[in-house]
Symmetry: C2
Subunit: 119 residues, 2 copies
Amino acid sequence: MSESTVTDESAEGADACCVPLADIDSEALAADLQLLTAMGNDTRYELLRYVANADDGVCVCDLQDAVGVSQSAVSQALSRLYTAGLVTRRKEGSWRYYEPTETAAALLGTLDDLRGANE
Amino acid sequence: MSESTVTDESAEGADACCVPLADIDSEALAADLQLLTAMGNDTRYELLRYVANADDGVCVCDLQDAVGVSQSAVSQALSRLYTAGLVTRRKEGSWRYYEPTETAAALLGTLDDLRGANE
DNA sequence: GAAACATATTAGTAGCTGCTTGTATAAGCT
DNA sequence: AGCTTATACAAGCAGCTACTAATATGTTTC
């Protein structure tokens, strides 16, 4: 697949473009993508913002009223955020409180900065 | 569905949870989501990383060899990144060079920092 | 223990996403 | 002008995603 008649091509004039690029770390890529895909959904991002807004944790029942989807959908969304390392969860009686991680805070902070800078 | 006897509930003991949350700016949310969904895809994120790595712009043809999808898919992916404001494009002869925007640099930088801090 | 509440899990599915293939446009070369 | 190369656009579709509905699990209160 990667065998090509390099000498012929380079002698002809294709040398101004199409030079091979340096590889990028595929593990880092996968890690970043987990964060980005977890955040890149309407419901989940809205939930994450609500979680990040409240300093001492938000109860699921609060979140349920804030976004317009079913209880099940909220639970699934929060699980996904948890798996991605964007929120922590703590159980207190029959309620469960979610808090943002530093990862979430950093990314949301960057997004806030960008929005501020572009307007 | 949302009509409930508030006085009864609050008198009983449901006041430790389920307080209404402060609203979040839906315009900001949409703006952020455009960035996140644009970045939150394998092909597009890989392309964005390649674009960000090369300082003086990358030609589409270079990118095509780097990721494992068709020319058309690369073009579509780059268009999406452009629309989202993550890359700029400049035409030079028959080639087109892409460069990262400051927005992209900021977000990628944050992701790099996070990865560095967590390992 | 039973009923009510809070959350999670499972299964099923509508709709979106991202690809391929084919075609169009534009620029360079002969 | 005609051919080739570089890129974009359009249509079609396979596979994924995120929802709902139903059910299960755990907690509190009586």
